[in-house]
């Protein structure tokens, strides 16, 4: 009897903990035959392969793009930033999350060019929007204190901002706000691609041009991510991205495997495989127009 009571208690406790950890604990069918749950992990079905959150999507950091822009000789252009500095106009969670992503990319771009006062203002804007969507204000408060003491140290500021992004993402995922996290990534990705396409018109650099074409795979990841978190409220976002994908489908991508070299002592592997991206002027222009349209929709979305 005691064993029965103990078992019942243990089961109740276990189920309770499990449900708490996994959101509502419901499972949804996956077209791949796998089963997912809300904690972001799938049961592997026959293959024993877990795809995190159905699929795991790594999107390039806006900071990576900003570094590339600096590398190819781009100058800081304030006109590229979201001109609206009043975050209170964004009143819904979706608008706030998307624009937090946009402002985050603007922040990274400003930091790369040592526009520390501009970056500070953007950080305050991010703090307000972050608070609205449930990111703990303490994350920002702590960062902003350190930021003030390092205004002239670009490297330190970049480390702080990248840490903030990581902590925010972790915080949102811990609090089962995967959709908010995805919308922030979406806003940041769109803003970064907007920067890159705008600059390709001014700087005829092959690396910049290739970076646009390389977003073909990232776009597929992004569409999958948005579809995963969409319960109907993001149909417009998914539709816009699919429309963009029809243009990206015209980008040619080739790949050739080459054996990598690993240096045990340096904890380093040099990946020597070769890839190439071909993108015509016409396709580049189409992408530029479409991403501008999407970006302008995001920053104009208030509700």
């Amino acid at each position: 009897m005691n064993l029965l009571r103990f078992s019942s208690l243990l089961i109740a406790l276990s189920v309770s903990v499990f449900i708490t950890a996994c959101g509502d604990g419901t499972e949804k069918p996956d077209t791949s035959g796998e089963v997912s749950n809300n904690n972001g992990a799938n049961n592997g079905g026959n293959s024993n392969i877990l795809k995190v959150g159905d699929k795991l999507f790594n999107l390039p950091s806006p900071l990576e793009t900003a570094f590339l822009i600096e590398e190819v000789g781009g100058h800081f252009t304030e006109a590229l930033l979201n001109p609206d500095v009043d975050p209170t106009k964004y009143t819904t969670k979706n608008a706030q999350a998307m624009n937090l992503g946009v402002y985050g990319a603007d922040l990274g771009y400003s930091l790369i060019y040592n526009q520390s006062q501009n970056a500070w203002n953007l950080l305050e804007t991010c703090k307000k929007l972050g608070g609205e969507i449930g990111i703990s204000p303490s994350l920002y408060t702590s960062l902003m204190k350190r930021f003030q003491g390092n205004m002239e140290n670009r490297d330190s500021l970049l480390i702080m901002v990248s840490q903030l992004n990581s902590l925010s993402d972790e915080y949102l995922k811990e609090n089962e706000s995967e959709d908010v996290s995805a919308l922030i990534l979406y806003g940041g990705w769109v803003e970064s691609l907007y920067f890159t396409t705008q600059l390709t018109a001014q700087i005829p650099n092959p690396k910049l041009r290739a970076r646009v074409g390389e977003q073909k795979n990232s776009l597929e990841n992004l569409i999958g991510l948005m579809q995963q978190v969409n319960t109907g409220q993001l149909d417009d976002v998914v539709s816009e991205l699919e429309s963009l994908k029809t243009i990206f489908d015209q980008v040619e991508y080739t790949y050739e495997w080459v054996e990598p070299e690993t240096n045990e002592g340096k904890h380093l592997t040099i990946i020597k495989s070769k890839s190439n991206v071909k993108i015509s002027d016409a396709v580049l222009k189409e992408i530029s127009l479409k991403i501008t349209e999407i970006r302008n929709t995001i920053i104009a979305t208030t509700t």
Binding site: L10, L59, S162
Partner: protein, 136 residues
């Protein structure tokens, strides 16, 4: 009854493991040192002993990335392998003493698949965390 008890213990362990993700993230985060910038994303999965998590990532040519992969409260509990999209093996940490992090220098941009699983020696279930940083 025995099956129910087994299920209960497994479910309880799984729940506890999920809670340990924060600790694992701290363990993992220390490998993204100051010469790397985090990509701002936080990847995690709950794993049982025989399960494999699959991560997909796009890495850019001319950049050096650090992949940090951890489980539990100490280094070396997670096995990870990196493949290209054609499933050519690029790296596996098992032949490098289960190294908790590794750097990858890219000559060209490419998509990679990263598989992660618990080291059977460590046993049980656990939270797998992966972080990616890029060199400035």
């Amino acid at each position: 009854m025995k099956q129910l008890l087994t299920f209960a213990i497994a479910a309880f362990s799984f729940g506890v493991s999920f809670g340990q993700c924060d600790i694992t993230a701290d363990v993992c985060g220390k490998h993204i040192t100051d010469d790397f910038l985090s990509d701002g994303q936080h990847y995690r999965a709950l794993l049982l002993t025989d399960q494999v998590a699959e991560f997909n990532a796009t890495l850019y040519g001319g950049t050096t990335y650090r992949i940090s992969a951890c489980s539990g409260t100490q280094d070396g509990n997670l096995l990870f392998r990196v493949y290209d999209k054609e499933r050519n093996l690029i790296f596996r940490n098992q032949v490098h003493s289960n190294a908790p992090y590794w750097d990858f220098q890219l000559e060209s941009s490419m998509d990679v698949i990263i598989e992660a699983e618990l080291d059977p020696i460590a046993g049980g279930s656990g939270c797998a965390v992966m972080l990616i940083g890029f060199k400035r």
